[in-house]
């Protein structure tokens, strides 16, 4: 059985779409929690999810990769610190930096792993209130030109789930200025800053726009009945964005 197989969850009727040829990898580390959810989101969006095991070094020809949330290695040392050294991460780092610019989305722990891997600048420390926080969170899409955000309107406000312990985004002032100047803040918190993140940053992108990381969880907002307040589906756009991006010739 592969790590992200869904042994207790029936099959979906996958929407038939022209995009369903796309293969999106979902990485599972020891301690990853949201890999099944990410897999579901990919299927709901109409693509094929491919399970990637942290200890393997074969990307299996996927067209994009999602590093889902959880507590890899317990997050005991620092969130994402140990996972960053997995063989699969070496492959992902290379592919993301290569000319092919593999689209990579890091969600929550995945975002933390991307910063530890230096694919994205800055880092995360404990929430300023020091508690785990689970809530429905409003975000503003600050950059709708990335591989993972192109189906949103610039400035659109979306509600997705936030749930973490170490979600306070920090970086030095120079980096923060650069992020803002270059439009690399992808998402910001609206209404209330839930963790003390610098400049209300919820998510960022690399220069090329193929690597995006954010703390909140779009994969928990793709099915009516199970998303924020059991209705929201604002997260689906992440997954349709990458499919659009792939079809748009990047592949």
């Amino acid at each position: 059985m592969s790590a992200t197989e869904l042994p207790l969850i029936g099959d979906y009727s996958t929407p038939s779409t022209a995009l369903s040829g796309a293969r999106i990898g979902v990485v599972t580390f020891p301690g990853t929690l949201d890999d099944r959810d990410a897999t579901r989101a990919i299927r709901v969006a109409g693509a094929e999810a491919v399970s990637l095991w942290h200890a393997d070094a074969d990307l299996q020809n996927v067209d994009a990769v999602i590093i889902p949330g959880g507590f890899s290695y317990g997050d005991y040392l620092r969130a994402g610190a140990i996972a960053r050294f997995a063989p699969m991460m070496d492959k992902i780092i290379d592919a993301a930096n290569s000319d092919a610019k593999l689209p990579v989305l890091g969600i929550c722990n995945g975002f933390q792993i991307l910063t530890e891997s230096h694919l994205l600048p800055g880092s995360m420390v404990k929430n300023d209130h020091l508690k785990f926080l689970c809530r429905d969170q409003v975000l503003r899409v600050e950059n709708n030109t990335t591989a993972w955000t192109n189906q949103y309107a610039q400035g659109e406000e979306i509600t997705i789930v936030l749930k973490n312990q170490d979600g306070q985004y920090v970086a030095d002032e120079k980096t923060l200025d650069a992020l803002e100047a270059e439009g690399r803040v992808a998402f910001s918190y609206v209404g209330w800053n839930p963790n003390g993140s610098r400049r209300n940053i919820a998510g960022i992108t690399n220069e090329a726009g193929n690597v995006v990381g954010l703390m909140p969880h779009p994969e928990h907002a793709v099915e009516a009945g199970f998303g924020p307040d059991h209705t929201g589906t604002d997260g689906l756009g992440f997954f349709t964005s990458v499919l659009t991006h792939l079809v748009g010739g990047q592949k």
Partner: protein, 771 residues
Amino acid sequence: MSAAEVKKFNMDTVENAAATPETELPWAELGLKQNEFEEVVKVLGRRPTAAELAMYSVMWSEHCSYKSSKNHLRQFGDKVTEEMKKDMLVGIGENAGVTNLGDGWAVTFKIESHNSPTMIEPYQGAATGIGGIVRDIISMGARPVAVMDPLRFGAIDHPDTARIMHGAVAGIGGYGNSLGLPNIGGEMVFDSVYQGNPLVNALAVGVMRHEDIRLANASGLGNKVVLFGARTGGDGIGGASILSSESFDDSKPSKRPAVQVGDPFAEKILIECCLELFKGSLVEGIQDLGAAGISCATSELASNGDGGMDIELTSVLLRDPTLTPGEILMSESQERMMAVVSPDNVAAFEAVMDKWAVEYSWLGEVTDTNRLVIKWDGEVIVDVDPRTVAHDGPVYDRPYARPEWQDALQADTFKASAAGANLPSTGEELKATLVELMASPNLCSKNWITNQYDRYVGGNTALATPDDAGVIRVDEATGLGVALATDANGRYTYLDPYHGAQLALSEAYRNVATSGAIPMAVSDCLNFGSPEDPDVMWQLAEAIRGLSDACMVLGVPVTGGNVSLYNQTGTTPIHPTPVVAMLGKLDDVARRTPSGWRADADGQAIYLLGTTFDELDGSEFANLRGHLGGLPPKVDLEAEKTLGAILINASRDGMIDSAHDLSEGGLGAALGEMALRYGVGARVALDDLCARDGVDAFTALFSESQARAIVAVPRSEEVRFNDMATARNFPVLRLGVVDASATSLEVQGQFDLDLAELREAHEATLPKYFG
């Protein structure tokens, strides 16, 4: 002396025990009574070895043997009809009961206590409570899918309550969140009776296909026994260190930790690797290690199997090399499992362990001797009939009697008391009372707690806080799912244990039905004081009798549970607190009913189902005024059944969009919660209700009569809905309408309560005390 030599020196073999019958043994320090020790000697035909003594002492403890409650608990097994057994795939006695959901799906759930560990170390105590119950679920062959946490702490303003609250909630969150299990509900009650003895109960639920059900037994001659997961350390064996010889043992840490530290990461790995073992059919039997550790796992596996078991204890991987055999047998180190594997599957088993980097060691094998034989470096240190350890512990018929004070307590009714004078009656007073109640410690918003729990992970949560029940989808293809609620009211049970326990069951049943699910099975956690106190023993006996009688009437079997005794400070016991967890089934979770109306419900009719009596004794309102006396609300199980049927049918047939049952705080609190759920107002009137049921406005709002619920019905469904209730002869009354343009809850002729003001009061309480 080297560590190995010390161990050898300390070794008390069976041979040695037979040769030295006069050796003094510390049985009293290990908690055995004289008669119990004599029984052990009789069973063995000789004095026990040190290791055997360790095993019997933990396995014959109250916690593991249920010696005070066993005689009473039998009623749960006896009072079941054929109808109730229909969907029960595994009943009481296994790690957790299993209920058939249909379509080849099964669900297993269980609730357990971790009270005293939480008092000593709130974070770790509560965390390992979650860890332990989740392992019970895994050991049935299931994937755990959700947890719940009924809590009871001391007075909200007592300084020690903050310590427990911060630690326990962070521990439950820290552990559960790291496992990827959504927390879908629980309870939070503050009462000074729990000051020195907080209650942390933990529930886990798991799902599986029928063919994946696993049981804890060691069968098949020659099959291998393996221990895997965390290494064994000195956790939770404070008492057992008596077994080591003082003078030759300077090498060991002076004091064994009584506290177990949890490693949720290790448990998450254990979940995944067990599922992979089940998927590949790589284990014949499996047992989690909880209380009494290896003693429990080996003796239970062996006695439930068809033969015996041979174990080499030096093969156990240790975190602390100085542990003696007795300590190893008693250790309660967390995140360990024991399995029985056929020789053909050994290689495949090891491959799964290696993939997940889980440590394991082969300890021995299944034999045909009917004996559990444990060796230390080849020398026999335990040779017992495993049944005598696991199942034939002492059973006591403890004396019990209705307490002398019970009559006086029941005679002291609220309205006749000084506290019951000057009840609110004007509109302004009723409004202020509702705000005060909804801001009170027990009825205030639990967001401060639930915000620290992940309720979304897994993507199958269809309802969670603050709805009446948590709802989890099981099958994505069909929407098949389960609902769960936990309830107890210690004050009601104190006033009348028989009916109080039934009220806990009634409320849990009602909560599940309100969400639209069909109640199916019960797990219970009986939190009581000392069984050696005849008053407490009576409370326990009455609660079990009440619960089992009511389960018969409601047609829901008890499939498992846990008894936690000696919950007291000095000689003062806690209120008897039988926490009841109810499991229900939804054919399609898309049909679940949330506990409040949304703005698009504008104009829907608000109906009250059920009858309101003058029942304020033991209520939250009386509690606010510091009074506890009289009789709890009347139990009406037939009415609960009919109400449940109406709520379930109305949900299935799309007649209602929201529903909320009435419980603590009565109609007032229920209306307030429904309006706050999505911040949408309503207009209601009480006149018809007061006239029909012969109560005043205060009683209408705050009485805690049972078998009641509020529903919001779309205009187009009103006739059908009324007809359905009337056809069942169930009282139904139109109270008012949802008003999406209103920002208030208006009780006509009484008051108009601004929702922002109500929310502010409702949500400020826990942050005010806990930051």
